[in-house]
């Protein structure tokens, strides 16, 4: 029990540190928030001439993608960020299990993502005078939590790239994130994609998240009717997180063999 409490305290170190960083970089946080809001609004306006449902479809896509990409970005860039600050060696030699370290990053990413998404939802709802009377918020919340697992897993796998190659790895995580945006049906049905690219949509967990979230928020569908999607998302998440941790562990060994934990790598 003492060990668990000690690990939870260490886990909190990363959450507290990152929220402190948010406070200290408040100017940039406001810039990103404004950009996100404007982005969601401009996408929403595209659908205005096509009816209310289309606006909701687009806005929900923008919001969910915003949340999932925050999760992915915060987890995958955690190594790059520490390297840029010059603290990577200090963090990696601390007596903290890597599971705890990455767990702390994930807890922070979920909390930070929720705060940003709530602000976005509030502003967008005001702007488009959206009514979500039929929405099943409880179901949406469950879907979001279950989907978070798979995005954390993807983030962990992507975090390996900057660990192995400081500059190119970080570039690769951005390409990966952009590909997810392309294939997951964020702003359009995946049926409009060229046939050869659709297999990527099938393997992207964001495809199922967006589908289920739209069903919950726009149609008010209960969880019971989305059992298969939910189960699939859960299985993907439960596979990706241990896989991500395993790969991260291998990459850390590689980085220590090749001397890539330094600031310059």
């Amino acid at each position: 029990m003492g060990q668990v409490i000690s690990e939870l305290k260490s886990c909190y170190a990363f959450v507290e540190r990152n929220f402190n960083l948010v406070k200290r970089y408040l100017g940039w946080e406001i810039v990103f928030m404004v950009y996100n809001i404007v982005n969601a609004l401009t996408i929403g306006f595209i659908g205005v001439t096509q009816g209310r449902e289309r606006v909701l479809y687009l806005v929900v896509g923008a919001m969910i993608w915003g949340f999932l990409s925050i999760l992915f970005h915060e987890v995958s860039e955690s190594v790059s960020w520490e390297r840029w600050e010059g603290t990577i060696e200090y963090t990696f030699m601390a007596p903290v299990h890597r599971f705890t370290h990455l767990g702390g990053m994930c807890v922070y990413a979920i909390g930070y993502g929720i705060i940003r998404s709530v602000v976005l939802l509030f502003v967008v709802a005001l702007f488009f005078n959206l009514s979500l009377q039929n929405a099943n918020f409880a179901a949406a919340l469950v879907i979001l939590m279950v989907s978070s697992l798979s995005f954390i897993g993807l983030g962990l796998i992507a975090a390996v790239l900057p660990l192995m190659s400081p500059e190119k790895g970080s570039q690769a995580t951005h390409i990966f994130q952009a590909l997810l945006l392309l294939v997951s049906g964020v702003y359009y049905e995946i049926s409009v994609l060229p046939r050869w690219i659709r297999p990527l949509s099938v393997v992207s967990p964001a495809t199922y998240t967006l589908r289920a979230m739209r069903a919950a928020l726009l149609e008010g569908r209960p969880l019971g009717q989305m059992g298969n999607t939910l189960l699939l998302l859960l299985v993907i998440g439960l596979l990706l997180i241990p896989l991500g941790l395993f790969i991260f562990n291998l990459a850390e060994i590689y980085a220590k063999k090749r001397g890539k934990l330094k600031r310059s790598g």
Binding site: R17, N20, T87, E89, F92, M93, P95, M164, L261
Partner: protein, 272 residues
């Protein structure tokens, strides 16, 4: 167990891209032609408990690589390292609880305040926050650090002050082995002296073992019980500062450690 550190035939290689080979480095930096550099070459070392052990040598001689190996940030290619009898590869978690390190560049989140950085460290090392704050302020005061500055962002502090915070951060976790990797490089003479005094004080008060790497021969001479001179990843001499001087003294009345280095390596101190 009288040894704080035991290194047995430690070797560490790095791989560097060959310049002018036309290689692009391949995907994620893999592939491409590389050459092998030996950073640490079959080193044997034993540092006794409670000792201040110095390693002096020019840039690129392998000092920092050795410190990184001991602090679990690098894996050796050959050999074995033990810290208080624990293998740094197999028992890294236990080793990390006993050590702390101050590096040449004070590794901080520059936008975070001094205290925010210290509280992060305290949580990582399981030091209760109140206790950590008290200890940190006490240590910082010995350096003449004003208490009010503890809430200042690190980027607003001078290089010397940042290094003092780094030292306070390392000490307030009460490490039994302290790895000081060029802790005074870039500090003004007064700050340098304060850090040196503090290291001596800590050794007396806490019975910590200190491994110090430095460029500064006078510093090594002043505070180290024993010294190793390292060049191209190998120790060329290891003894007390006095004995090292005696080794090369000959007919001269007095020799400095710089002269000892030049004599033993056949190189000038600034040559590297």
């Amino acid at each position: 167990m009288n040894s704080a550190i035991r290194c047995i035939e430690i070797t560490k290689f790095f791989y560097e891209k060959r310049s002018g080979s036309g290689s692009k480095g391949g995907l994620l930096g893999w592939g491409g032609k590389k050459r092998r550099l030996t950073a640490v070459d079959s080193l044997d070392l034993e540092v006794k408990r409670g000792e201040i052990f110095g390693i002096v040598g020019p840039n690129g001689s392998g000092k920092s690589t050795l410190v990184r190996l001991i602090s679990t940030l690098l894996l050796p290619d050959k050999g074995q390292i033990e810290v208080f009898g624990l293998d740094v590869v197999k028992e890294k978690f236990q080793v990390r609880k006993m050590i702390n390190r101050v590096s040449v560049d004070a590794a901080f989140f520059k936008k975070l305040s001094c205290w925010e950085n210290l509280s992060y460290a305290a949580r990582l090392y399981g030091v209760p926050i109140k206790e950590a704050k008290g200890r940190a302020i006490e240590i910082l005061k010995t350096f003449g650090f004003q208490e009010g500055k503890i809430n200042q962002p690190m980027e607003n502090l001078s290089r010397g002050m940042q290094q003092m915070v780094a030292i306070a951060r390392a000490f307030f976790t009460s490490p039994v082995l302290l790895l000081l990797d060029e802790p005074t490089t870039g500090l003004d003479p007064k700050s340098k002296r304060q850090v040196q005094e503090f290291v001596l004080k800590v050794r007396e008060g806490h019975n910590s073992t200190v491994l110090l790497t430095t460029h500064d021969m006078d510093e090594a001479d002043r505070i180290c019980d024993r010294l190793a001179i390292i060049d191209q990843g190998r120790f060329v001499a290891l003894d007390t500062p006095e004995n090292l001087k005696l080794m090369v003294k000959g007919e001269r009345e007095e020799v400095s450690l710089e002269e000892v280095f030049m004599e033993l390596t056949g190189k000038g101190w600034e040559e590297e």
